[in-house]
Structures are given as structure tokens and as C-alpha cells.
């Protein structure tokens, strides 16, 4: 049963991250996603310290605010401070992450949160903290992540058109009266909430693998946004299953195993696309001859 809950947790993270990741990728904001996932750390630590539990909603929102804050910070450094964009991202998130780690060290002993959790999550402990619904013992994290997943799907459902237009054609969006800024920050907020919620399962860094890799792999396979979203989620979920057994076989971190499988999927698809491309080239050459 434990294996089931762990894999389910992985799949839920894969769903929400896979969907949001597609939009980050298309907006060329992958590294901002990376920055957000690192930058929510101080928020999470403070939340732990204040409530001693992970699941209090107000503190969760507070932690998610840190994610939006860092995007504002990056933009301020870039626009007002005239710092080049990549350096602005680099400086902002390393500072926030450093503060987070320092806070963990300061509160060490008072908070049930250690550096390992930051680095690769504690997905293995998730089945032990359960919540009983109608006689079923369901892990608390699974319930929370299901909520996030439903929220993300709803967000994309409602905002699909607007996100599509603002991602591909900001000028058209302006003409249609769709606020680019609003959807930008809404997406950033969604990414923040998702990374905060995924933190316990996979940690602050491996969540980037779920945000970026399945979306990128799907992008190599299709040009259709809808298809890309489904591929991305499917790839993420299958990597969660494979990653679990891979890690179990090696007696290693499960989150790390899932990330490794995501990487392998990408390599396979990349090689496959390359082979297909060279075959097409040969065919084209032979018809010319």
C-alpha cells in the first residue's frame, strides 16, 4: 500500500507540474520557474516555524507569496536596476535560497525540517501521516496535492484561451483586451503554490525536473498545445512509476529516481526524433536522386 501512495503522490506532482511546465516552456520562462521553486524556501521554513505543521492554509499562501515576490524582485532588478535578465534571476533566487537554508540552521532543533528535505524531499514518509475519510486512511499530502491538481486543472480550464493568446501573441492579447500582466502573475502564483505543495514530496530542486523535463519532452513530440499537455502529464506519471521501482532497486532517493527517469525519457525521445530526422533527410535525398 505504501508504494501505491508514494507513486500516487509522484503522479499528482507530475500532473500539476507537467501542465504548468508547458506554459512556462512556451513563454521561455523555464528558469523563472527554477527561480521560484528555490525562492519559496524561506516562506516554507517560516511557515513550519510558525505553525509546526505543514498544512495550514494561511501560511501556505504566505509561502506562495514569496514565489510571486521573487518574480517581482527579478523584474525590479532588471528594469529599475538595469541588470541583465539572466544575472537578475541568478542573484535573486540564490539569495532567497541562501536565506532559507540559513533559517533552517537557525531553527535547527525547533523545526522538524532538515536540509535533506530541501534537497530531495521526504516522499518516503508520506504514507505515515494519514487522515481518515469515511474509514479510509488517506495520507494528508495526497489529499492536499489532489486539491492542488484540481486547482491547476481548473485554472488552465478557465484561463486556457487567455494563457494561449498571452503566450503566443502578446500584441493580439492587448488588442483583445486580455491583461498580459494579470495572466503572467496568475501563472507565477500557480507555479509558486504548486512548488510549495510539492516541496514535501520532492524537495525544492527536483520539482524543477517535473516542471521542465516532461514539458520539454512533449514539446519535441508535438506542435499542438492540447496534445502537449496530455503528453507532458503522461510522461510525468509514467516516470513516477518507473522512478519508484528504479529507486527501490538501488535503495536510493525516490524523488531522485523519478527525476532520473524523466531525464531518460527525454534522452530516448531526443534520440528517436534525431533518427527520424536523419531518415527523412535520406528519403528526401534519394527522391532527389
Amino acid at each position: 500500500m505504501d508504494a501505491f501512495w508514494i507513486i500516487l503522490t509522484g503522479c499528482l506532482v507530475a500532473c500539476s507540474c507537467g501542465i504548468l511546465g508547458c506554459f512556462l516552456l512556451l513563454r521561455k520562462m523555464t528558469m523563472i520557474g527554477d527561480a521560484i521553486s528555490h525562492a519559496v524556501l524561506p516562506g516554507i521554513v517560516l511557515a513550519y516555524f510558525a505553525t509546526h505543521t505543514y498544512a495550514s492554509l494561511p501560511m501556505l499562501i504566505g509561502a506562495a507569496l514569496f514565489g510571486v515576490l521573487v518574480t517581482v524582485f527579478i523584474e525590479t532588478l532588471h528594469k529599475s536596476g538595469k541588470l541583465q535578465a539572466d544575472a537578475a534571476i541568478g542573484i535573486s533566487y540564490t539569495l532567497m535560497f541562501a536565506i532559507g537554508v540559513i533559517l533552517i540552521s537557525v531553527f535547527a532543533g525547533q523545526v522538524d525540517l532538515d536540509q535533506d528535505c530541501v534537497l530531495y524531499g521526504e516522499i518516503i514518509f508520506i504514507p505515515f501521516d494519514t487522515f481518515s475519510i469515511g474509514g479510509w486512511e488517506i495520507p494528508r499530502t495526497v489529499i492536499l496535492l489532489s486539491g492542488v491538481c484540481i486547482g491547476v486543472v481548473a485554472f488552465i480550464w478557465i484561463g486556457y484561451k487567455a494563457l494561449l493568446v498571452t503566450s503566443f501573441d502578446p500584441l493580439l492579447a492587448q488588442v483583445l483586451g486580455i491583461s498580459t500582466a494579470f495572466w503572467h502573475y496568475a501563472l507565477m502564483g500557480a507555479v509558486s503554490v504548486t512548488t510549495v505543495m510539492s516541496f514535501e514530496a520532492v524537495g525544492a530542486i527536483i520539482v524543477v525536473a517535473f516542471l521542465v523535463v516532461p514539458a520539454a519532452t512533449a514539446y519535441l513530440l508535438t506542435n499542438q498545445l492540447m496534445t502537449m499537455l496530455f503528453f507532458s502529464v503522461g510522461l510525468g506519471c509514467s516516470a513516477s512509476v518507473l522512478g519508484y521501482y528504479f529507486a527501490a532497486a538501488l535503495d536510493a532517493s525516490i524523488a531522485g529516481g523519478m527525476a532520473t527517469c524523466l531525464g531518460l525519457q527525454f534522452v530516448f525521445v531526443f534520440v528517436w526524433v534525431e533518427i527520424k530526422k536523419s531518415r527523412q533527410k535520406q528519403e528526401a535525398l534519394s527522391t532527389v536522386e
Partner: protein
């Protein structure tokens, strides 16, 4: 305080090695980082540093040793592989650079975590301390490590020194480098390889996760103080070494504190202060310059307005009330009062009960502004073929900027004119 003195005087012989080692690491990252920063490829360092983790673990798994040079070789190989993967992905697929960075960063790191936890779970006693690579533990450096790192750092600095002018050229003027026949691709590969090297060394100080800061932040901070590449390198190195030593001190005083985050925190404070107060394009300097320009424009507009009124009456010695000035050109009450106060203080005008009146200096200045304005209008109509009713706006802006040299040049090119396109006299 006592601890600080102890630390600074190297009373603990270990401290000497630690400080030397950290300084070397920080210096080499800052130097290489300056080049990556200027090439606008700052985040490459972030991806490389995460990509190094599996190399360190594999090197340990294969040799069962923790000697720093073995781990360094492993780190270098996997960092280099990561770099090549990024390059391959961006060249061969439709994915953009940022996605390539994200893919390499997260999957290499994930694989590294698999290996690391695998090693930890085997219960091998020799592995303890391997996880220090994640956040850095400079305070635990021993003499042997420091010697290894110093050798590599010095090597790295020497190579940078040797190829300095070539690197400078491919950063600032790639086309020129190409025409000179420099092997650009090879040089760029060398620079990237050096970056991998610097990251592999620097990781000991700040760890995998925060290594990006050691590359980016010193260079970004230095950029706000100078335009000169030499000075920028020196400043970046100084910032990095200062932060490195301070961070190490904190970790030395409170042993449960990780070194990396403290170094990064100090470094970030230095960078934020530089962005705010830097001499070159710092926010505060820019604001001050803007304010000064705005004041200059206000004063010049008031003088110009007085001159126009005087010109109409044919008498520049009159007294003008604020109302009369505002009727000619609207300036807000508060602004006008402020401007007049400053002009009086300068001794350019005098303030009487009924209003204000030119003094000699002020009249000369007012005349100068009007002259430039009209010269520029004439220049635009004669040399740019603009119709006379289109030139006023432009002249309004330029009159505050033109220097005496430009003014003389304008007069020369227009052959010392007397009348502007609107038939007003150009005063002299």
C-alpha cells in the same frame, strides 16, 4: 569579538588553510564568472554546478576514496558532459536555451541525488562528508585539499591571463575577432571549460545549489562600479574573497551553520548595495542625475520665460510678477517658487516685492538659452528640411543639452545667422 580576533590572527592553524583555500576558490570563480556574465550566459554556471553532483558521487563509487583531486576530476567530467548536453539540445532541437538549462540542471542533479543516497544507504563509513558538497563546508578544509585547490586555481588564473586579450575580444567584438582570424569556437570552448573548472573548484566553498551565485553575483556587483574590464575583474575578485572569508568566519564561529549560504548572503548584500549606490549605473546615481537635470531645465525655462517677456517690451530690466510669467509659460506655483529661490541664491536674478528682475548673470544665461533654441530651429529647417512649424518641440528639448562647443559649431555651419525661421532675432 574575541573569536573574530582569533580568526583574523590565525590563532587556530587550521584557519590559515581554510582562509587561503576559500580565497582561492572565490577568486577563481569570480574571475571566470566575470567572463560568463559579460557573455550574458550567467545561468550556465547554475546548470553546470548541478550537473557536477553525479560526477562527484561516481568518482567516489569507483575509487572508494575522498581525496579532493579524484572528486575534482569526476566533477570536471560530469560538468563538462552537462555543458555539452546543453549545447547539443539547443543546437539540435527546437528547445530554447532556458529549457535546455532546466533539463540538464534537474536531471543531472536528480541522478546525483540517486547516487548520493545510494552511497549513504550502503553504510560505508568512508562516505561521511560527501553530502557536504551540497551546501559547502569550507570550514572543514584541510591542508591537503587547500594545496590541491590552490594549484588548480593558480593554473586557471594563469590560463585566463594568457588568453586575456583574446577573451576580451570575443566578448566585446566578436566580428572583429572573426576578421582577425581568431579561432572563436576553440576559444569559446576553452572559456566554457574554464567555467566548468571554476565551478568544480568553487563547489567546495558554497556547494552545488548556490554555486551560481559565486559566478554571477561578484561580476554583477562589480559592473556597477566600473566599465573597465581589468578593474571589474579586480573588484569582482575582491568582493568574492571578502564574502568568502566573512562566510567562513560565521561557519567557523557557529559550526552548525553551513558555509555556502552565508557566503552567498554576504555577496548578495554587496551586490544589492552596488546596484543601489554604484557609481556607474547604480539606481541612486541615476536618480540624482535625473533630479539634477530636471532642476537645470526648470531654472533655464524660467530664465527663458523672463527673456521672452523682456524681448516683447524691448526692456530686460523690468520686474515680472509670477502671474505674468505663468501667463506666458505655465510653470506650477511650487516649482516656480523653488526655481526662483534657487536663481536668487545663485545671484542670477533679484527678488523684489512686486516680482523678480534679471541681474547681469541671469540675463546672459537667458539670452544663451534663447539663442541655442533659435539656432537649433534654424538648423533643423535649413539642414533637415523640416517645416518651421515642426521644429519648436525639438528645440525645447535640445536647448538644455547643447554645449558651448556645439553652439559655436552651429553658428559656424549656419554662417552666423541673425534671424530664426519664425523671424525672431537670434540674440548674441
Amino acid at each position: 569579538m574575541e573569536q573574530l580576533i582569533d580568526f583574523l590572527l590565525f590563532r587556530d592553524p587550521n584557519v590559515r588553510w581554510v582562509v587561503l583555500g576559500v580565497s582561492m576558490m572565490c577568486a577563481s570563480s569570480a574571475i571566470v564568472g566575470t567572463f560568463t556574465f559579460l557573455r550574458k550566459r550567467a545561468l550556465i554556471g547554475d546548470a553546470i554546478s548541478h550537473a557536477i553532483l553525479p560526477g562527484i558521487c561516481l568518482a567516489f563509487l569507483l575509487t572508494q576514496q575522498k581525496a579532493s583531486w579524484i572528486l575534482l576530476i569526476g566533477a570536471f567530467i560530469s560538468g563538462w558532459l552537462g555543458l555539452q548536453s546543453i549545447d547539443t539540445i539547443t543546437r539540435r532541437t527546437k528547445l530554447k536555451a532556458d529549457a535546455a538549462l532546466g533539463i540538464v540542471l534537474s536531471t543531472f542533479y536528480g541522478f546525483g541525488i540517486v547516487l548520493l543516497t545510494m552511497i549513504q544507504n550502503t553504510g560505508n563509513a568512508a562516505q561521511s562528508g560527501l553530502d557536504k558538497f551540497l551546501f559547502g563546508k569550507a570550514a572543514a578544509l584541510v591542508q591537503e585539499d587547500v594545496i590541491t585547490f590552490s594549484v588548480f586555481s593558480i593554473l586557471l588564473i594563469l590560463i585566463v591571463g594568457l588568453f586575456f586579450s583574446a577573451f576580451r575580444m570575443i566578448i566585446f567584438d566578436r566580428d572583429h575577432a572573426q576578421t582577425l582570424g581568431l579561432p572563436i569556437r576553440k576559444l569559446e570552448l576553452l572559456l566554457s571549460t574554464l567555467t566548468v573548472f571554476a565551478v568544480a573548484i568553487g563547489i567546495q566553498a558554497v556547494g552545488v545549489v548556490l554555486m551560481a551565485a559565486l559566478l554571477i553575483t561578484p561580476a554583477a556587483a562589480a559592473r556597477y562600479w566600473t566599465h573597465n574590464l581589468y578593474l571589474m575583474l579586480i573588484l569582482a575578485t575582491a568582493f568574492a574573497v571578502f564574502s568568502g572569508i566573512l562566510g567562513t568566519f560565521v561557519s567557523y564561529t557557529f559550526p552548525h551553520m553551513p558555509t555556502g549560504p552565508w557566503i552567498v548572503a554576504v555577496l548578495s548584500v554587496v551586490a544589492l548595495l552596488s546596484i543601489a549606490f554604484g557609481r556607474q549605473k547604480g539606481v541612486w546615481m541615476a536618480m540624482r542625475l535625473q533630479r539634477r537635470n530636471r532642476t537645470k531645465m526648470l531654472l533655464e525655462n524660467i530664465l527663458k520665460c523672463m527673456y521672452h517677456l523682456g524681448e516683447k517690451q524691448g526692456d530686460f530690466n523690468q520686474v515680472y510678477s509670477f502671474k505674468a510669467l505663468q501667463a506666458h509659460r505655465f510653470i506650477e506655483d511650487q516649482q516656480l517658487k523653488k526655481g526662483v529661490r534657487m536663481l536668487v541664491h545663485k545671484g542670477w536674478i533679484e527678488s523684489l516685492k512686486e516680482g523678480i528682475r534679471f541681474k547681469e548673470e541671469g540675463l546672459r544665461e537667458g539670452k544663451r538659452i534663447v539663442r541655442i533654441h533659435r539656432l537649433w530651429e534654424l538648423y533643423l529647417t535649413q539642414h533637415m528640411n523640416l517645416p518651421p512649424d515642426h521644429v519648436h518641440e525639438d528645440a525645447e528639448a535640445i536647448e538644455h543639452i547643447i554645449t558651448p562647443e556645439l553652439e559655436r559649431e552651429l553658428e559656424r555651419q549656419l554662417q552666423h545667422p541673425t534671424i530664426d525661421p519664425h523671424n525672431s532675432v537670434i540674440p548674441r
